[in-house]
């Protein structure tokens, strides 16, 4: 076939040359005759080539249909590099940006009774790029796989590369076990291990902000076991260093935090599927800062967080692309037992129980568009009158927020979102409006349920 094209190109070139040569003579009849001769000549040859191609195709098909030598499961196509392993390692970049408008100054934001720590806090005012996330992953060998998330963040005007997640995990342990080592998002709760780009709202619900510093991320090890049952049952435990909120400062005392989690799930018909779970995190903290960054409160003691979660997903016929609805809710209980060092230097004993929850629904009525609503809240027992006038004094009204969002995704790699939040959690009631974009290029790992 290639030689056929080559001849046609040569003929075309020859024609160009002859057009130039003959133009002076304007001997159009001769030229037409020459073109006609060439055309019929090459049409004949092309027809012949096409006929031969058809025969070759038929032969190939017959060969395909003919019995193959027993190859005991060998695959024939050499180019079988599959999925994300087409490149090694798989590399992806996720771009995120916000344009946000708060009614109040977000710098002076705080939730009375719940001084915020870790990464949590309001989205910054104005236009900003959020994390630019670089994901690199690959199988290490036949027994291990590795994952790195390295966001580029802007801190105090300076770009900085962080190591958000860096873990290796076994792939070849027997009996449904796996072991993960390194830095990773803890498996507690439903949202804790979800990457920011897969959140349905631009920010985390209040209990995650108040109790886990947005997401509990730490260094350590995780063991998971999946039961060999029809009902999905996953059991996991983690030993963590204790270097991050809510377990900050205890990283020099062995394992600062431990966790347990159990998830179960299944389907109801073809339209519905669900996941439910409970988890427990026991974290110790030493001089853990929260509240005002420059003048923080310091907590030393024990922070225990229990979470119960439920997620229900619906799609007619299970055909997710056309239409779907996700309802999810989590409830968290936290007990903090220890002492707070207040900015003035005084130390007060602290033993308080707190609760937080959210309920949200996200509906995709047709491809590309999703609409969501979320309500989230916190409540706490009073730590005592000694804390009156501090950030730890519990307000009369429980902190609450109400959010609406809509997003549009041209493909699964691009998303534009609008979000409105009525914030009655902070010191002053606030109305927030924001736009967000989340774009991804390169390899993009499959999302969890």
């Amino acid at each position: 076939m290639q030689s056929g094209y080559f001849k046609i190109i040569v003929a075309a070139l020859a024609l160009c040359v002859s057009v130039n040569a003959f133009s002076a003579d304007a001997d159009l009849d001769a030229l037409r005759a020459a073109i006609e001769e060439l055309r019929s000549d090459y049409e004949g040859r092309i027809a012949e080539l096409e006929r031969r191609l058809t025969v070759a195709e038929q032969n190939a098909k017959q060969a395909r249909a003919a019995p193959q030598p027993a190859s005991m499961g060998a695959t024939r196509t050499a180019a079988a590099a599959s999925g994300n392993a087409a490149f090694n390692p798989a590399i992806g970049v996720i771009f995120q940006g916000n344009a946000w408008r708060h009614g109040d100054d977000p710098d002076s934001f705080y939730i009375p009774g719940f001084p915020i720590g870790g990464e949590a806090g309001p989205i910054s005012e104005g236009m900003s790029i959020g994390e630019t996330e670089i994901d690199i992953s690959a199988n290490v060998d036949d027994k291990f796989t590795a994952w790195l998330t390295a966001p580029i963040v802007i801190e105090d005007g300076e770009p900085k590369i962080e190591v958000e997640e860096a873990w290796i995990e076994t792939t070849a342990m027997p009996a449904g076990l796996s072991l993960r080592l390194g830095r990773f998002f803890s498996g507690i709760g439903y949202l804790n291990a979800k990457h920011q780009h897969s959140w349905d709202f631009a920010d985390q619900p209040l209990p995650y902000q108040a109790f886990l510093g947005d997401q509990y991320l730490d260094d350590g090890l995780q063991v998971r076991w999946v039961a060999p049952t029809d009902l999905y049952m996953e059991f996991g435990t983690e030993l963590l260093n204790g270097g991050r909120y809510p377990s900050e400062g205890s990283d020099n005392s062995g394992f600062g935090a431990q966790s347990l989690f159990v998830n179960v799930g299944g389907d109801v018909g073809t339209d519905n599927s669900w996941l439910a779970g409970v988890s427990y995190l026991d974290a110790s903290a030493i001089d853990r800062p929260s509240g005002d960054e420059d003048d923080p409160l310091l907590f030393t003691g024990d922070s225990a967080v229990m979470t119960a979660q439920f997620v229900w997903k619906w799609a007619p016929n299970g055909n997710w692309k056309q239409k779907n609805l996700v309802i999810q809710s989590e409830y968290m209980w936290r007990r903090e037992d220890g002492s707070y060092t207040l900015p003035g230097g005084s130390v007060l004993a602290y033993d308080t129980r707190q609760r937080g929850w959210y309920l949200q629904g996200v509906y995709q009525p047709f491809p590309r568009w999703r609409f969501g609503a979320r309500i989230d809240g916190l409540s706490a027992n009073s730590p005592g009158s000694a804390f009156d006038g501090t950030l730890l004094a519990v307000p009369d009204d429980d902190p609450m927020r109400y959010s609406l969002m809509t997003d549009w995704s041209n493909s699964e790699f691009s998303r534009l979102r609008f979000q409105y939040t009525r914030d009655e959690a902070g010191i002053l009631d606030d109305n927030e409006f924001g736009l967000q974009y989340i774009f991804s290029i390169g390899a993009h790992g499959a999302h969890s349920f």
Binding site: P67, G73, W320, S448, F449
Partner: protein, 299 residues
């Protein structure tokens, strides 16, 4: 807590007592084929039905549980399931079915993949650089896949190898006869022109000599837009195509809309086993595809 563990243990014990080959198929086609070859010795399940777009499946807990216990995974491959299968694998902790092991079989790896451009530019949509993954709609491919699948099942379950061989031979014989009949019956379809919703019909068109003249999707994987459909109306209002073809899981509105304005018949064809009442197995799938196309041609 004790009770949960006790239940888990009980379920565990009952689970290990079965000696069947557990086959997890990503698509109903391979569950059906494995059942034909395996008969009573296999337990098959399919992650998707013919009414679900296999590109977009949630990595559901029920599927993780199935992968956890599978002896063999059979999928189209060529990145069709890239949005969910890797997550099932990661969560299920089953080393016997990882890519590269004998418990993992990509059907498209044993056939000649069409449209394997190696093109990675997503401006052309959600494309599969390793080639078009919808290989099941050419019966020649099905035979090749059935052959390797039966070999794989023999490898994993040598005790029942004789049954698998016998069942495959029976299938092979009947399939070859059916292919001749389908090709004879479908001869009038050669040279017809089709507008297709998604590139799901490339292998069918290649087999029957149907020319694909346009797609309802503006670029692969993105839903049809009004602008693109209006362009198609302008292009095809005076004919130029014989069918508008869609799969059961694709929104009918786009093809019906274009059909109304162009007069070209819209046809829904089963893309996978179970997609129509007649397509209850692979034989019925091709019977129905050809009859539906011939029916639309006669209109």
């Amino acid at each position: 807590m004790n009770r949960i563990f006790a239940t888990a243990l009980l379920l565990l014990l009952s689970a290990t007592s079965s000696a069947d080959l557990r086959i997890f198929a990503c698509e109903s086609d391979w569950a059906s084929l494995a059942q034909t070859i395996g008969g009573e010795h296999v337990k098959t399940s399919s992650a998707t039905t013919a009414f679900q777009d296999p590109h977009y499946i949630q990595a559901r807990p029920s599927l993780i549980a199935k992968v956890r216990r599978a002896d063999l995974i059979v999928c189209n491959g060529a990145q069709l399931e890239i949005g969910w299968l890797p997550m099932l694998m990661q969560k299920a902790n089953n080393r016997d079915v990882l890519p590269g092991s004998s418990g993992y079989f990509e059907a498209s790896s044993v056939v000649e993949r069409l449209e394997a451009t190696g093109d990675l530019d997503r401006a052309r949509g959600d494309i599969h650089p390793e080639g078009n993954p919808h290989v099941q709609v050419n019966p020649h491919n099905v035979l090749d896949i059935a052959k390797v699948l039966s070999e794989r099942m023999m490898l994993l379950d040598p005790e029942n190898a004789a049954t698998y061989t016998a069942n495959f031979s029976r299938f092979d014989e009947r399939w070859r006869k059916s292919m001749l009949e389908w090709e004879r019956k479908a001869a009038p379809l050669k040279g017809t022109r089709a507008i297709i919703h998604h590139k799901s019909w490339t292998y069918l068109a290649d087999w029957l000599g149907i020319e694909v003249v346009a797609h309802l999707e503006p670029v692969a994987g993105l839903p049809p837009t009004p602008a693109h459909l209006s362009g198609l109306v302008a292009q095809f209002k005076n004919g130029g195509a014989d069918f508008i073809i869609r799969a059961p899981y694709q929104d009918a509105r786009a093809s019906e809309w274009l059909s109304e304005r162009s007069g070209i018949p819209a046809v829904m064809l089963p893309l996978s086993v179970g997609g129509t009442d007649r397509a209850e197995d692979f034989f019925g799938l091709f019977d129905d595809i050809i009859d539906r196309l011939l029916g639309a041609r006669a209109e």
